[in-house]
Symmetry: C2
């Protein structure tokens, strides 16, 4: 069994690659970007992974359901309600279903598993926790929810800090702990370390489990050279006091991962990574198309050299 810790858009390629090379994949998904909108509980990372595994994902946008319409959010806008979050009309069925089930007393884990099954996702998806953890971005304009910073403010404000509200009280999902214990390999997706993986590492019980499993944990660097493969990782990493480089990623993961997979072009970094007590493995970490996804996945699953 292989487990992958995943965020959303930045992780879905590798998640899909792994699902294509192995039947026994479990995805542990970030919940720090979950947000209540219009009284509905929206889980952007879980949904992106679910849609990705169900062949429903809008690949161009990197989120939402392909071919979706946006009448609902347009109507909300006309009604003078906040409408900065791109909620598609089909996508909305997911949020309405989830909210109804949660209100009926189901856990987020139960709902996530049910939704994945209903939508046809091919692997098991587990939220990191059933408790609410919220990634809060500090800016000179005040604190704001990650989604507000990222979507509403277009990631423009300076970032002075990143915090995970609720993480200190959150417990990992029971299945999450079991899955980490049992997995031959635990992969940390090439996601934004601070905002996508950070909220999971901030959950004490989950972090402790990873520390115990460290020798089985392989992280994939989301940074090549001094630039993220995609997304706003640099801004968050700097705010967290990290160097924007594979070595910076290594310093963030040093307690929870036994090795870091970096781009072949970053071979000069290997020495610095090893100083953190981690093995530095070099591979082709840019995934182009399903073949690229599967190639990296096979390598990480130990089924092929890269």
């Amino acid at each position: 069994m292989i487990t992958i810790l995943a965020g959303g858009t930045g992780s879905v390629k590798l998640v899909r690659g792994l699902a294509s090379v192995s039947k026994d994949i479990t995805v542990i998904c970030n919940v720090g970007d979950n947000i209540w909108l219009y009284g509905l509980y929206v889980c952007p990372d879980i949904d992106t992974v679910t849609y990705g595994l169900a062949c429903l994902l809008d690949e161009k946008r990197g989120w939402g359901i392909k071919g979706d319409t946006f009448s609902f959010v347009d109507q909300m806008k006309r009604m003078g309600r906040p409408a900065w979050f791109g909620l598609g009309d089909r996508d909305l069925a997911t949020h309405v279903y989830r909210t109804e089930m949660l209100r009926r007393g189901k856990s987020l884990t139960e709902v996530t598993i049910a939704l994945a099954k209903t939508l046809g996702a091919t692997s098991k998806i587990l939220p990191a926790t059933d408790d609410e953890v919220e990634t809060v971005i500090s800016t000179p304009r005040g604190e704001m929810h990650l989604q507000e910073f990222w979507v509403k403010r277009g990631a423009r404000p300076a970032v002075t800090g990143v915090a995970f509200r609720g993480a200190d009280r959150a417990r990992p999902g029971r299945q999450v702990v079991e899955v980490i214990k049992k997995s031959e390999r635990i992969i940390i997706a090439p996601a934004n370390p601070v905002s996508s993986i950070g909220p999971m590492l901030a959950i004490g019980g989950l972090r402790r489990e990873l520390v115990r499993a460290k020798e089985r944990v392989v992280a994939v660097s989301p940074i090549i050279g001094s630039r993220p493969v995609s997304g706003p990782a640099a801004k968050y990493m700097k705010a967290a006091g990290l160097e924007v480089s594979p070595a910076g990623v290594a310093s963030y993961y040093k307690e929870v991962a036994g090795s870091l997979v970096i781009a072949k072009t970053d071979w000069k970094m290997a020495g610095r990574i090893e100083q953190f007590g981690m093995e530095a493995a070099r591979a082709d970490i840019i995934m182009t198309g399903p073949r690229g996804e599967a190639r990296l996945a096979r390598y990480l699953a130990g089924k092929a050299r890269n």
Copy 2:
């Protein structure tokens, strides 16, 4: 001030007509067809009236917002969830907004007024009560919610009874009582008497107020000859033991209305209606287009002879 007791599709023409001839119109709206769907509170009659007064109504269907899309409900169907109720994507914004406000502790009256304002409805709309009243149709296949009978079952089962669950405990909205006390005229729309007006008359406190105001209450017959102008009135009236005729309507309204407006062609009915202690007024009650709506409205508002 003029008040109109209204259902949905069958009432919206006259409601709109009245709004076009007078600025001081209050609509008291049926709530018996309200239904929880997917954890959202849907108020079909209130919405039809609101959309009608906001020039948003899909006139062809008689419900929902014109030009709406149906991606959400299609997705629910794909997810194997019940999808028999036509919830448009724009329409959904209304239900999501309402549900969020109710969960925050607002009353249905407050939410209805806010929605009417937000959507641009030109008259005041009040739900008959803030309490839950549910119109239940008895059939040989068992009891079912009015909407289930009407939409899901296509009104096909035989109707053996109509009941208003919760009406015995429901209190009329406070503003409803004030409005009835103050109105020069209270009009009962040519709606289905049993299923659209009946749930309101079943609320003791509302019925008592109408009985007191009886001489100011004018009902418009939804039946011409022995056939309803539109909709399934006949089936419900028969189940309620009423004759499907203006006289049957009169017998249903005899305690709460001082007069009944019937079609000119039904002049032979006048005598039987007067036997119920009601005045029988004859007018052109078929409303064709905005002109026809306004003509009947002017007549009912006492501004013109018909």
